[in-house]
Symmetry: C2
Subunit: 587 residues, 2 copies
């Protein structure tokens, strides 16, 4: 059982049969066709030779098929991670140098090790630090950055830059040198691909094709664009007219590569590698969970970390760069009917065959076509409706979203992620540090106690009942002291404070110290402090401290009991209710 | 009113009279006597010329008297901040160089600006990041580090080091060169000061003195040690026997100093300055709050930030180093009867007089005496009971405490604070990411719903009631999806899921997306999702989203209502209860 958890292949492999095989094979063919141009394009986006994209689409898929828990996730190069790789490797060396490639390979290695270690330590919860608004902001901003960065290939000019102002500035400077033929190819390819995405399937159906094959044919659109533009370059000899093509792509299987073990390089790359790991993991897990739920399957997030870690380590040792589970190709895999991770392994075989036999055909492929592929893919990631929706629903989430977009566009991908996490965390800590609490009173003729500001309730001048709507932790320990002591200062006749703990799920050591401090200060003023409705686990823990021994008041099972008992103890006469003596353990 | 909040002096200044004046003056005299040796000693600890300690005890006190809200807080150099200053300035230049002094002054300036800005932006809540266990661990470890670092002066040897292994290694190496006369002075001074702290007051009372004057005389013990050892040096001409003394101390008022504006220096010092600010603020506010509560006064934490910021800026411009509110001297100030911050201003006058007239007397003061003062003061900060208490009460808090102590001792003060905050935050996020939830059922013959694992309750096979004991935020959004969908997967007959939201105080955008995702997935399986006992503010916010429009189920006022209504809707017959139609808005 335990081995099965670490090697999910042992589970699904046992029931593998002919029908699963044929389903997986069909899906693999379709994903392979889609993956070839995409891999080349994303490698280009990462600033790497196109063939590296193919390398990153072979062994990683096999590794994921062995260790991953999603039946339908398709692993490989993706847009956002490619952009992050370009940004990180670009800070080490110039594109095209061996150092740049080494940095990319080392990034994959570090990221793979980090993911695997996080999986083994069950640290998947760390990805929770990325809230939905931060992720969607980051994806939107990355999409805009990526699309803008590819415009240079459409115009046939050279520009550099990691941020929006840099990219736009460089474009404005270089636009005079536009290569008109390249521009025509780029614009046509972009328009064609947009049409393929939106209009091809309906058109094919109108032409009499059935929906499912029409869908499949439409998915092959990018391959058509690749073939058509290669043909155009060959027929019209466009290379002589300044159209930049992919050029010689090495033929053969991925080489055996060794990531750098230079500690200086590691010191420079650990942070980008960590961010790539977390962003990649979050993207991958969201996709995997969505697809799994559709078939009522389940994925194990901590094992997913191990699966993605293995993929990235495999990528590093076969000359690839960081990979993760991609949204578009996973959906294609799912729709094409993949039933097990074996489909990924078959896709790997397809890509390996392509890198063995098809690479010579790519010599004349215009770079502008690949850029068009990227632009069309990433613009679908840009989501302009979310800011308005968030503004309406929650200003804090809106702030985190907009901060992520702004910092990503203006300062780049790494500062963007960090700013998003930082702003999100800061706002969370801020709200956690001032939680909700209410002064409550009894609703007439009931045992219920509600907020005195919202309901018509009964209170007594010598009793203050405070309902605390939050666990008592170090983040709000100081707030609690201030809140209680301020409320007490307003009431001169006070003799009892009852803290109603029905919503207190935990009390940490700082919370306990605050309770003790409040108790001492109230005792100094002749006021007794009581607790009511303390939950079982919280009470168990309080019993392990000395708090209850020193408590000036009592712990009541219910707020109603507390209020009823203390109602008569207003200091005007000695207390001698036998049941109260009993409760104190004096009888 | 608003001006009074920013300048608290306008409030207490209005009622200032003769009796307050005499009380403040008496307190000022006592604090001045205590502060002179302490200031010299802490400057020594910070690696600075002793006179800098006096400079840091003049203008900062005046600034705090104007801007601070505590009536009795005594500001000045303190042990922990001095140690942190030594660590930060030591990374810039060697002790004794002008660059070292400049770094210390710049630290005070940066820290002052940060504190003031945090105050203006009301960021006082950031200090919540330091939990009680982290603070006490840091103080304990700092006390041990400081005491160990001062042993070199007791032995009369030279050592360097920021961490425990470095300090102990250097001591072990240098101990052969111990100066025996210095050692005698150091040990005698230490023993005398320990006795003064514990035994002097009872001894004086036994000799017939009244408790209050006995206490005052005991407080002057350090001054006696200073006087006696100066006398010993002069009488026995100990300087010739290798006893290191303070030497020439410049006479006069603090100079006008200008902090560095070198951006490189700022880049190196901003993090230490931030940590000094936060540690200093937390120490100061805890002391101020404790003392204020004893007299039923209140302090305003955000205004305290401004007060401490002003003090540090004043310190920087008068050649001082970072200051904060100290525990020992504030308690002395309080006990001596200080009634307003004016006592601090009078203390400043006393210290100014000392630096004008007394400094020549300090020429022959042995450094070992100052070291003894520090050792005795800081060892009282070491608290060895807390780890056991925390282990017993909360393993998470214990882990944060021990991590802080360990990293501080082994790697120094800055890594120690950062590790403490990091571990605390990580553990907090970990627990927040997997909150408590319970499957509930109806307690027979009541309207109450309790945990099915703890109580004997009624449930129905087609209804699953889940009580969520936490706000739904991005930290636990993924957990909620997993929790609900796992519970649902176990129940094939299920038709309704009711989420009981009595303990849900907020739902952020990520929580809302999770609810939507859960709802979609349940709907795919033919299960309706309902909410019950949603709090008013949460409901208001949900109404601003489109969640309620798409909800497959209903929102019920109480869990009891939900359970009763849905009890009959088990899918075996069409639902036609009129009130349910009404609730759905269909009638």
């Amino acid at each position: 059982m335990k081995l099965q958890r670490v090697l999910p292949i042992l589970e699904w492999g046992r029931t593998y049969n002919g029908s699963t095989l044929s389903a997986d094979l069909l899906a693999a063919v379709i994903v392979t066709i889609m993956l070839i141009p995409q891999s080349l394009a994303y490698a280009l986006l990462a600033g790497l030779p196109p063939v590296v994209g193919l390398y990153a689409s072979i062994l990683p898929l096999v590794a994921y098929a062995i260790f991953g828990t999603s039946r339908t996730l398709a692993v490989g190069p993706v847009a956002v991670v490619s952009l992050m790789t370009a940004s990180a490797a670009g800070s080490i060396a110039a594109q095209g140098t061996p150092e740049y490639l080494e940095a990319a390979i080392t990034l994959a290695f570090l990221s793979g090790v980090m993911l695997a270690v996080m999986g083994l330590l069950r640290l998947g919860f760390l990805s929770n630090l990325l809230s939905h608004p931060v992720i969607s902001g980051f994806i939107t901003a990355s999409g805009l950055l990526i699309a803008t960065s590819q415009l240079k290939h459409i115009f046939g000019i050279k520009t550099e830059g990691d941020t929006m102002p840099e990219l736009l500035g460089a474009l404005a400077q270089g636009i005079g040198k536009t290569n008109p033929v390249t521009l025509i190819i780029g614009v046509c390819a972009t328009a064609f691909l947009f049409w393929v995405r939106k209009g091809a399937k309906p058109a094919l159906i109108r032409m009499g094709m059935k929906p499912r094959p029409a869908d499949m044919v439409a998915k092959a659109g990018p391959v058509a664009a690749v073939a058509l533009t290669i043909a155009a370059v060959v027929v019209f000899n466009l290379a002589d007219k300044g159209v930049k093509t992919v050029g010689a792509v090495p033929q053969g299987l991925p080489p055996f590569a060794v990531p750098s073990t230079n500690p200086d390089l590691w010191a420079q790359l650990w942070l980008p590698a960590l961010l790539i790991s977390i962003i990649g993991f979050v993207e991958s897990v969201s996709v995997a969970q969505t697809l799994a739920a559709k078939r009522r399957q389940r994925i194990a997030p901590d094992q997913e970390l191990i699966g993605l870690g293995a993929s990235n380590i495999a990528s590093a040792f076969s000359g690839g760069y960081p990979v993760t589970g991609g949204f578009a190709r996973s959906v294609v895999n799912f729709d094409a009917g993949a039933e097990t991770p074996a489909a990924g392994a078959y896709t790997a075989v397809g890509i390996a065959a392509a890198s063995l036999f098809l690479t010579p055909l790519l010599f004349n492929l215009p770079v502008a076509t690949l850029a068009a592929t990227i632009i069309v893919a990433v613009l679908s990631l840009v989501d302009l409706k979310t800011p308005g929706r968030l503004w309406h629903y929650s200003k804090a989430d809106f702030a985190a979203h907009v901060a992520t977009i702004g910092v990503t566009l203006l300062a780049g991908v790494e500062p963007g992620v960090i700013a998003g996490v930082g702003v999100g965390l800061l706002l969370y800590l801020w709200t956690s540090s001032r939680p909700h609490a209410a002064i409550v009173g009894r609703v007439p003729d009931t045992q219920h106690f509600r907020n005195i500001d919202r309901h018509n309730v009964i209170t007594l001048p010598h009793i203050l009942s405070i309902r605390i709507d939050e666990s008592l932790t170090y983040l709000n320990a100081r707030w609690l002291e201030e809140y209680v002591l301020e409320r007490v200062a307003e009431k001169p006749e006070l003799r009892h404070v009852i803290l109603m703990c029905s919503a207190v799920n935990a009390i940490d050591a700082s919370g306990l110290e605050s309770l003790e401090a409040i108790e001492h200060r109230l005792a100094d003023g002749g006021i007794r402090m009581h607790l009511s409705e303390v939950k079982g686990p919280v009470m168990d823990r309080l019993k392990r401290s000395q708090f209850l021994d020193h408590l000036s008041g009592e712990v009541f099972l219910s707020q109603d009991q507390a209020f009823s008992r203390l109602a008569h103890d207003d200091g005007s006469a000695p207390v001698d209710e036998p049941d109260q003596w009993h409760a104190r353990g004096l009888i």
